[in-house]
């Protein structure tokens, strides 16, 4: 069997070095971040209902934002968290933020600092209370049913929670008007079992794309009233509050990377098909 002198373009493409693919991926991520294209994003009903609920609450309503993720899920949940917090501030609702994942608090602190640039009047203790982290997931949730200030005697910054004006009017889980939980795992199950169901509080879940399928059954059972799923959910929310930020610009990157992979796979398959045809013809000619 004699070999073709030089591998054809098709053959070379099929053996494409992975580093070229890596370079293309980097470019597909970076360029849309530099030059946002604003590809249209359709808002899904499960995101819309979260927005509608927060929008319809009267000013000064009590909201709980449970933060149950850590830096590993930051790319997806951090933009989501910021978008929801921004919406809450704009609607002048009161916000309490507990964290049940040990490495979560720093992310919340960072988001608060960033938001304070835009909303310098947003004050700790009056408009929001950042409770920080407490160990013991389910036990913490149960205990929050009777008192926030006893479960978290000090907030993240070390101040006593008991004397804060907001905590004086909002110290029990039952006083919650609406809750949003940000989940990278199954801590949300505990919130539903031990808090939102017993106290009949409406809740929405912001989740990473990987755990989203775990939460859709809750939506079907009406145990949660909305889902923000992954980066796409965050982008939809940013669009709803009319503040396109990290997630919206990231969606362009997402689309471009997906399109890139899609096109490369299709071309590879066509080429492989053509090559197989050529080989078959060659074999026939030789025979």
């Amino acid at each position: 069997m004699e070999k073709v002198q030089k591998p054809s373009f098709i053959e070379r493409f099929l053996q494409l070095d992975r580093r070229i693919i890596y370079t293309l991926v980097v470019l597909a991520v970076a360029i849309p971040l530099l030059f946002p294209m604003g590809l249209p994003i359709k808002v899904t009903s499960e995101v819309q209902s979260v927005y509608d609920t927060i929008e319809s609450l009267p000013e000064g309503s009590h909201m709980l934002l449970a933060v149950d993720y850590d830096p590993a899920s930051m790319p997806e949940l951090y933009p989501m968290m910021k978008a929801v917090m921004r919406h809450v501030i704009e609607k002048k609702h009161k916000l309490v933020i507990p964290v049940l994942w040990p490495n979560g608090p720093n992310l919340v602190a960072q988001a608060i600092e960033e938001l304070k640039v835009d909303y310098p009047d947003w004050t700790s203790g009056e408009d929001y209370v950042f409770l920080g982290y407490q160990v013991g997931t389910a036990i913490v949730i149960i205990s929050m049913g009777s008192s926030f200030s006893r479960t978290f005697p000090h907030d993240f910054y070390g101040s006593t929670t008991k004397t804060m004006p907001l905590i004086k009017e909002y110290d029990k889980f039952a006083q919650t008007d609406y809750m949003v939980m940000l989940e990278a795992g199954s801590t949300g199950d505990s919130w539903i079992i031990f808090a939102t169901e017993p106290y009949d509080v409406e809740v929405a879940a912001g989740v990473t794309a990987v755990v989203a399928p775990q939460y859709y059954p809750f939506l079907q059972a009406k145990q949660i009233n909305g889902i923000l799923g992954g980066l796409k959910g965050a982008a939809e929310y940013e669009l709803l509050i009319d503040k396109p930020a990290m997630a919206v610009s990231a969606m362009d990157s997402q689309s471009i990377v997906h399109a890139l992979i899609f096109v490369v796979i299709i071309i590879a398959n066509i080429f492989a098909f053509v090559l197989a045809g050529q080989k078959r013809r060659q074999a026939r000619e030789e025979a």
Binding site: R19, Y22, A209, Q254
Partner: protein, 261 residues
């Protein structure tokens, strides 16, 4: 991500700790941190190109730090509260209060089993650890066995036994019928594929072929589903490098060069 908890003490910080805290969280240290983080991000990313000394440096640093991190957690969450305190309750800061640990000498038994593991360090005495393995694995298997039924086998088993909506009078109901047939036949054919004690020929062979197709569709779908989540992670790192490290303004200026404005 490790979900082992870190106990953040809620005590008021001593004055010198406050000074240290200010030093580390304000001013230059976070900037230095951002630069170090960016450098390490590039080190770790470089390995997708090929092995190189930068990656090797990052890898070895990461190994050392993470091993130490986990070991301190072992101490604070495992050995201290579960072994040291029950043995010497006075050491517990809550000693004397209702939350304090009470003396429990039974804890010596797992202590001895633990020492058996350390006997491996003595040549010729490694077999002691077999007793520990037997205790650990035997006990754990006993724990797992009923829970495989309760949490795993029976729920899936009953979920498969759903009524087939065989009355078709519209397109929607036809889709429902199709779905339920796919679930039913799909799950069974995959089970047939896993038959070990008979040859996959004839009828069984054909059904197991269907099983293979079901598996392939499932794998393809999961693969495609995960791409988005993984790309999000890279976008997150790129945003860190471009906006936190290089800086939003500089990036915007670079971008404007290409806009021609």
């Amino acid at each position: 991500m490790t979900h082992l908890a870190i106990i953040l003490l809620q005590n008021d910080l001593a004055p010198w700790q406050e000074v240290m805290s200010t030093f580390l969280t304000e001013g230059g240290m976070p900037v230095l941190g951002t630069w170090i983080a960016a450098g390490l991000t590039l080190c770790m990313l470089s390995f997708v190109y090929k092995d190189n000394p930068f990656f090797r440096f990052g890898e070895h640093l990461y190994l050392g730090i993470s091993a130490a991190y986990v070991m301190t957690i072992y101490w604070f969450n495992f050995l201290k509260p579960k072994f040291v305190y029950p043995l010497i309750p006075v050491l517990d800061p809550h000693y004397g209060t209702p939350e304090g640990t009470s003396l429990n000498l039974w804890i010596i038994v797992p202590g001895i089993l633990g020492v058996f593991i350390l006997m491996r360090l003595i040549p010729g005495q490694g077999w002691f650890s077999r007793i520990t393995f037997a205790f650990y694995i035997g006990g754990f298997t006993g724990v797992a066995l009923p829970r495989i039924f309760a949490g795993f086998l029976l729920p899936q088993f009953f979920a498969t036994m759903e009524a087939i909506p065989w009355r078709v009078n519209s397109i929607d109901s036809a889709v429902l019928l199709l779905n339920s047939l796919i679930l039913f036949i799909g799950a069974l054919s995959v089970l047939v594929y896993f038959f070990f004690s008979m040859e996959h020929r004839g009828f069984i062979g054909r059904v197991s072929r269907v099983g293979i197709y079901m598996l392939m569709i499932a794998f393809g779908a999961s693969f495609g589903y995960t791409i988005m989540a993984r790309v999000s992670l890279l976008i997150g790192r790129m945003q860190f490098l471009m906006f936190d490290w290089i800086g939003e303004e500089i990036v915007a200026r670079i971008a404007s060069l290409f806009h021609g404005g």
